[in-house]
Symmetry: C2
Subunit: 213 residues, 2 copies
């Protein structure tokens, strides 16, 4: 297909597609004339992935390039590619505040990961994201909710189903790039699904809680 | 305490505290001289709440004022206050795309809420947040993961523990304003806790998945 059709199919404006081509996010099409090129289904899929990363994942263009490089590099394991995506997702952790609450929260995170036996790299940004939120909870003297272990157990149960569904052992007949694209979109978008469902579930729980009294 | 002590205790710069006083986010202190006022523990707690809403909840100042007005207005029920906070939280839903995937996703959300019997107002932003993410999943042809009902069940189970812990029936000896402040901080910060734990759980699940083959 030509550029106009690629734009129509992907819902990405022509100027934006040209920007992605210049930035190397999108591989060039097959030249058919001096100013024309032919694009394929891989371009449509790649454009949708880029838009999902930017629009839904809130990932800056520079980080998208970093992720796509790992998607395309077949020497990078899927686990490492998965990590490159996750470590780029917003929000990036704020600079740690090392007051009493901050130090206690970081220790709480280390202890939790140790107790659960989770395999997490030392530089995983989610460690600091978690510590920052726990420190703020301590400083605000906020209610503890169902507790850290209840949240962790719920997330571990979901992750045990999510990871194999995103990366099936047999590959489901898909190429490595297709699998990687699906994993990227799935990781970003399912986080949004989960947050939205949590808010809906809380509204319902609040409605029931107040009606029952 | 005086302004300098309030700033030290709350970790908020004096200029920022004065800005919040001008904007009406923080009630004035008790005047003790022409240019001096005395502040109390309520000011410290309120400042920490404001910072948590802005820094952690990513809520704009105008929306913070809207929330605080509902926290302070005792005629607003806690359920309605809870709703005002949640509906202000980022990310705000993008303008809906009403293509086939967008329409199918919105219908999927309505059906899910109906099947689960959840009590959700028609204008809850989380409806559109969920539909936007589901539509993007459809467009990206991404893996479905454990399925919408598995996510919803996990979130409902947590919400059933979260809501009573944030708003205990006996009030736990706290004033309405203190309860509201705790609920606000808890709602915002526990969402961060959950997202961070989900990322950690996924990294661990991915590490196990790839090691086991």
């Amino acid at each position: 297909m030509q550029m106009a059709e690629l734009s129509r199919r992907s819902r990405v404006p022509v100027a934006t597609i040209k920007y992605y081509l210049r930035k190397g996010l999108l591989p060039p099409g097959t030249p058919t004339a001096a100013t024309r090129a032919e694009y394929g289904e891989a371009h449509v899929r790649r454009l949708r992935l880029i838009r999902a990363l930017i629009d839904i994942g809130d990932i800056p263009v520079a980080a998208v390039a970093h992720i796509l490089a790992r998607v395309d590099d077949e020497s990078v394991s899927l686990h490492a590619m998965f990590g490159a995506v996750q470590y780029s997702l917003g929000p990036q952790p704020a600079r740690p505040v090392l007051d009493t609450a901050g130090q206690a929260a970081r220790q709480e995170v280390e202890e939790l990961i140790g107790e659960l036996g989770w395999r997490i790299t030392p530089d995983a940004p989610a460690r600091e994201l978690l510590a920052t939120a726990l420190a703020a909870l301590r400083r605000a003297d906020a209610p503890h909710g169902p507790g850290l272990h209840a949240y962790a157990a719920a997330m571990a149960a979901l992750a045990a189903k999510e990871v194999p569904s995103v990366l099936p052992p047999d590959g489901g007949g898909k190429s490595r790039v297709e699998l990687a694209e699906g994993a990227v979109a799935g990781m970003v978008l399912h986080e949004r699904v989960l947050v939205a469902l949590r808010r809906l579930a809380q509204e319902d729980a609040s409605a029931r809680f107040f009606e029952d009294r």
